[in-house]
């Protein structure tokens, strides 16, 4: 079990670090979006009028170019001239000033997949229906958030598989960690910062692992169940006949047509349906706003409209769906209360995706995520420290390599994060493909951090602290403060203004950046003191004698 914990933890720890850190940032992804796209710094809006605002925009939407290119590859040739509309949908939460709108278009000439389709996506200002420029990258919800579960490795979903495996390793590391640790309750509150580095690092590793154990466990597990259909594609492979038959039967039973009829028909007033859905929610004693709205088989006589309640006051994201005939506007079906199994699943999904309105809990999630990151980082340092003490070339080489990677994943990741924010404020808004440039800055600065860590790592082989830690800490401190200053200079939204007007999405993120800068500077100074003290490694036997776990 120790072997499993050490080696799988080391190798997948780099991935877990990304998942935990960017997952923590994703708790405030919408707020980071506001920071990065100043035009959208206004109050959250409810779902606007479908008939007046959304329909004209939906009608003008088109499939994304990249999706069309991918579809051409799947089909192995040109796509049909007409791609029939399948669905329109819109999703919003209590934190969204802007509204995301999606459309699906059928690809009718793929013999391998009769349900093949491509997507269109726009973001609008719901107050006036104006489109947001496509080039603007939502750094929170479109970059950090997907990074934490897909690593932005799109090819064959490989990123999802890597992160999924890392989540399994996280669970296994928790189980094996408990087995190895044994004194879970007796040492639950034990942290001895003044003891030797190896001891205090291990204390911190145990503390952050044990104290937030339920958080770590359920986030790794729910991360897996959320993407279960990717990891276990039963319905798409061996269970496909059963799945399709069930879908058709289900459509018959519920009255929600599985396929379009082929007869065109206009769409009735969706606004009237929204009013009826809200009335039904209020009758059930859970009045609320619309979270998700979807029109299936758009423009067809079989079309239906599904309206889901935003789960701001619940753990589950959306629910209480009411389905209407798209043609008559009459209710076809009101979803019954979910079964026990679905409730558990909705709860697990909802607790991870956290679209509820509870700011304390959101901050607790950040704390939990950062404790996860600390747990992994201290695991790295413990690994390095243990090998630093060992005599012989093999141990030194292992230590140097692992340390450079640890620097890259800890401070290097922070540098990349701060760099994309600085780039966001420095690059002009009119720059073509601005988002692509920002992403490039992110990856290149991370790569530079790796190069720097590898170059400065010589000290580790001699049993000392790599100066890369300190130098990168200073870089983080400078970049994070620069981001705050640049936000002020380029938008005029300085902290006094955002705090006094109570615009917390931007004020909160600025404060978090300053906090991070302060911590990084503090860490850099502490590292300096340690380096000055320049204690060369103590002989191995002394540590062995002190550490009961060795």
């Amino acid at each position: 079990m120790t072997w499993l914990h050490t080696w799988f933890g080391l190798v997948l720890g780099y991935v877990l670090m990304v998942a935990f850190f960017f997952g923590s940032l994703s708790v405030f992804d919408r707020e980071i979006d506001r920071w990065a796209i100043p035009e959208t710094r206004f109050a959250p809006q409810v779902m606007p009028s479908f008939d007046k605002v959304l329909t004209p925009i939906f009608e003008k939407m088109a499939p994304e170019e990249e999706e069309l290119a991918a579809a051409r590859q799947r089909v192995g040739g040109p796509l049909p001239d007409v791609m029939p509309l399948m669905t329109w949908s819109a999703y919003t939460t209590h934190r969204d000033p802007v509204l995301d709108m999606y459309a699906e278009y059928a690809i009718t000439n793929n013999p391998k997949d009769p349900f093949d389709h491509v997507h269109g996506h726009v973001t609008i200002d719901p107050r006036n229906g104006k489109l947001l420029p496509h080039d603007q990258l939502k750094i929170g919800s479109e970059f950090f958030y997907p990074l934490h579960f897909s690593l932005h490795l799109e090819w064959m979903n490989i990123g999802y598989w890597i992160v999924g495996f890392a989540a399994l390793v996280m669970l296994a590391a928790l189980v094996s960690g408990i087995v190895m640790h044994r004194k879970i309750f007796r040492e639950m509150f034990t942290f001895r910062p003044k003891k030797q580095l190896r001891r205090s690092v291990l204390d911190l590793h145990n503390l952050t692992g044990v104290v937030a154990l339920p958080f770590h466990f359920f986030f790794a597990l729910s991360g897996l169940t959320i993407f279960a259909s990717i990891y276990l594609p039963l319905s798409e492979t061996m269970m496909r006949p059963l799945a399709e038959r069930h879908a058709i039967e289900e459509a018959e039973k519920s009255g929600l047509a599985f396929a379009p009829s082929g007869v065109t028909a206009p769409l009735a007033s969706v606004d009237a349906m929204v009013i009826e859905a809200k009335r039904r929610w209020a009758d059930r004693g859970m009045a609320g706003e619309v979270g998700f709205l979807m029109v299936s088989h758009v423009g067809d006589a079989n079309s239906f409209v599904s309206i889901y309640r935003a789960g701001s006051d619940r753990v589950s994201r959306v629910g209480q769906g009411v389905h209407f005939s798209g043609v008559t506007g009459k209710v076809i079906r009101e979803e019954p209360a979910p079964s026990a199994v679905s409730s558990v699943n909705d709860f697990l999904t909802g607790l991870h995706l956290q679209h509820f309105k509870h700011w304390l809990l959101r901050w607790f999630y950040v704390l939990g995520g950062l404790m996860g990151a600390v747990c992994i980082a201290t695991g790295f340092i413990f690994f390095v420290e243990k090998r630093k003490q060992r005599h012989g070339v093999e141990g030194a080489k292992q230590a140097r390599w692992a340390d450079a990677m640890a620097v890259t994943t800890v401070t290097g990741m922070l540098i990349a994060t701060a760099s994309i924010l600085v780039a966001n404020r420095v690059l002009p808004a009119e720059l073509a493909h601005k988002g692509e440039w920002e992403k490039a800055v992110f990856w290149l600065s991370w790569l530079a951090a790796l190069g720097h860590a590898a170059w400065r790592g010589g000290a580790v082989a001699q049993g000392r602290i790599s100066p890369a830690w300190r130098e990168q800490c200073w870089t983080v401190a400078i970049l994070a403060s620069a981001a705050v200053v640049l936000n002020w200079v380029t938008t005029g939204d300085h902290l006094l203004k955002t705090i006094s007007t109570g615009f917390w999405p931007v004020a909160g993120f600025d404060l978090a950046l300053l906090g991070a800068a302060g911590l990084a500077a503090f860490a850099a100074r502490a590292l300096r003191r340690r380096e000055r003290a320049a204690m060369p490694s103590q002989p191995a036997f002394k540590i062995l004698a002190e550490s009961p776990n060795a």
Binding site: M1, F165, L168, L232, L234, S235, M239, E250
Partner: protein
């Protein structure tokens, strides 16, 4: 545990058993859950969700066990063999559902 840390080939085999054998076992388990569930009259989606909720805990158990069990042969037989057996059984049940 320490016995297999000696031969690199055995380490690789054990890792493969934990990762791929464990996955095969989870796959078979999930298939069987759905097939048996639907056979017993449970709604397909319901059975699938149930399988998804348990599948990763099954994988976790299989994965950890692959590193705790002394006999590597037994690990392979139980995980890969068991996975294949459950998948086959589920396949037969699903094929006969009408």
């Amino acid at each position: 545990m320490s016995s297999f840390a000696v031969k690199p080939r055995e380490i690789l085999s054990r890792i493969a058993a934990g990762v791929f054998g464990g996955y095969a076992f989870m796959w078979g388990f999930a298939m069987l859950c759905v097939a048996v569930g639907v056979f017993a009259g449970v709604d397909y989606d319901e059975a699938l969700t149930f399988a998804y909720l348990l599948a990763f805990l099954v994988y976790l158990t299989a994965f950890c066990w692959a590193f705790a069990e002394a006999s590597l042969t037994r690990v392979w037989i139980v995980l890969a063999g068991g996975g294949a057996l459950m998948t086959g059984a589920a396949w037969l049940i699903a094929g006969n559902l009408h």
